[in-house]
Symmetry: C2
Subunit: 316 residues, 2 copies
């Protein structure tokens, strides 16, 4: 059995722990198609927050408390850069992380595509699943905001890390998406999948940038595999992160049903065949989509694996 997961970073990484756990139990093969919209070049380093979150989490090296980056991280490089007065100084560039970015940037500058770089980095981390960037092309999520009374378009990281989303926000734009091609191996993975899962990642800034790659969305929407989504909203609040802010910006109801309806049924040009919501959201209606209510809190790998089993069940 082949499972493809569309996923963002931290929440998606936690979900993937459960997918891997369940896949091991049933002998399935897992490919994660990972958002690259958060990617950014800072201080000459190409930083891929979502790929790294997934890689570190599945490699057992993520910081469980902070939720992002490496456990046992230090911050000498960041502090020194600040002492030189170079910007941006608000980004959490760890020393261990810096080594990852150096290896990645050196390979990218040598002409390797991000997919090949990711595979090389995963040689060390052995995530137990295949990690594929949604695209090898440049695709960045930018945010239309008002800062100091002025309309600006800033990188997602600046919105997220620097402003914590606390600026008047008008829209999210996926720069480069319209001409981006799916990353190496992505179309093959989707074409051969028995099921496509949509992780409970932020639908606006983690999942939407993946689907903004035209041929990727087409392959999922019109592919042979059933598509099952897992709600990132439980009882009207995001499991983690700022999905509520993002949804509200686009006037989408912050609820399991609201996100399910935003994705929409495959039969009508949407994404979903099935939609898993939390038991507290039982009764959420998404017309044209099979919904099921099960416990969605990813408290540990076993609970998350059970949730994945329910998603696969819903795909049948």
């Amino acid at each position: 059995m082949r499972i493809v997961v569309l996923t963002g970073g931290i929440g998606g990484a936690r979900f993937l722990l459960g997918v891997r756990e369940h896949a091991r139990a049933i002998g399935a093969d897992v490919t994660a198609v990972v958002n690259v919209g958060d990617d950014v070049r800072m201080h000459g380093l190409q930083i891929c927050p979502d790929l790294d979150s997934v890689m570190y989490t599945l490699g057992g090296a993520a910081d469980p408390d902070r939720g992002w980056g490496r456990v046992g991280e230090t911050w000498v490089v960041k502090e020194e850069l600040a002492k030189y007065g170079v910007e941006p100084s608000w980004f959490g560039l760890g020393d261990k992380d810096t080594a990852t970015h150096l290896v990645r940037t050196t390979m990218l500058n040598a002409g390797y595509p991000l997919s090949a770089v990711t595979a090389a980095l995963c040689e060390r981390w052995q995530p137990g699943i295949t990690l594929l960037p949604a695209t090898d092309d440049r695709l960045e999520t930018h945010v239309v905001v008002d800062v100091d009374g002025e309309r600006k378009v800033i990188h997602f990281q600046e919105w997220w890390v620097r402003h914590r989303g606390n600026v008047p926000t008008h829209n999210f734009v996926f720069r480069g998406a319209d001409v981006a091609k799916p990353g190496a191996g992505v179309l093959e993975a989707i074409g051969q999948a028995d099921v496509v899962l949509v992780a409970p990642s932020n639908p606006i800034v983690s999942i939407a940038p993946i689907l903004a790659v035209p041929a990727l969305r087409e392959a999922v929407a019109n592919g042979p595999a059933p598509v099952i989504g897992v709600s990132p909203i439980i009882g009207g609040s995001p499991v983690r992160g700022m999905a509520d802010k993002c949804l509200a910006t686009l006037d989408i109801e912050v609820s399991a049903a609201g996100v399910g309806r935003m994705y929409g049924p495959r039969a009508e040009g949407g994404l979903l065949d099935g939609w898993l919501v939390d038991t507290s959201d039982a009764g959420a209606e998404v017309p044209g989509v099979r919904t099921k209510a099960v416990p969605l809190w990813m408290k540990d790998e076993a609970l998350t694996a059970r949730m994945v089993a329910e998603a696969l069940e819903l795909a049948k």
Copy 2:
């Protein structure tokens, strides 16, 4: 009064502490023309060991025990790069240092010349003198060696740091020197100098690469200012480093007189008007060059400043 110093890294930096001390006392202006032959790109970072040694030492941030790099340095990035299995793993890439290299590389990649980058980095370190790279062009010292029975040409850093010079060594080559132009400001500084000092740096791999830039050597050899050298050899041994190995490779006598004769008198197409040797080398003969014997051990800034005063005296 204007003093120009031709210098390498660690020994040269210590000498410059004395030059700065004496220059403050007499109200002189100091410009250091620094060797770039050691420079190397590793892990995508442009590393300038001599410029950094001088900058950190004069900025009060050098490690006094190790002799190179930053005091309080940590090594997380280096250890992580090694865990990724990327080479070279033998180079001492510190975390604090990494920030310096990131700022430098980002500026170089943006198109700034090394001289402008150096000036920008010095905004933080306030060395109290002007630091100029010998050239803004690419110039690297390579070493002709036998490794595992095979003739190879390796970068100076590989010879120095990886092999500690312990390989059969045949020659030193200054790649790019023949077409390199003096760095921004270098010719002006030499042209306006009242004296040019040659620091007691390694004559073969620190001073020679500077003089390998044709127009730079020409400006010093035929310039208006007297040129006074300070011997890097005391009693037949180098003050520090591997000058003895380098000199022996080229069949030059490892002595104060030997190095003085190698530089040669200006009157006969050489470099020197005066040559300062240690009291233990009193009597060293360098035909055509005024020699003087004074204590050359740079035990502290005051002693080094006295040595500089003697050099200036010899220039009169």
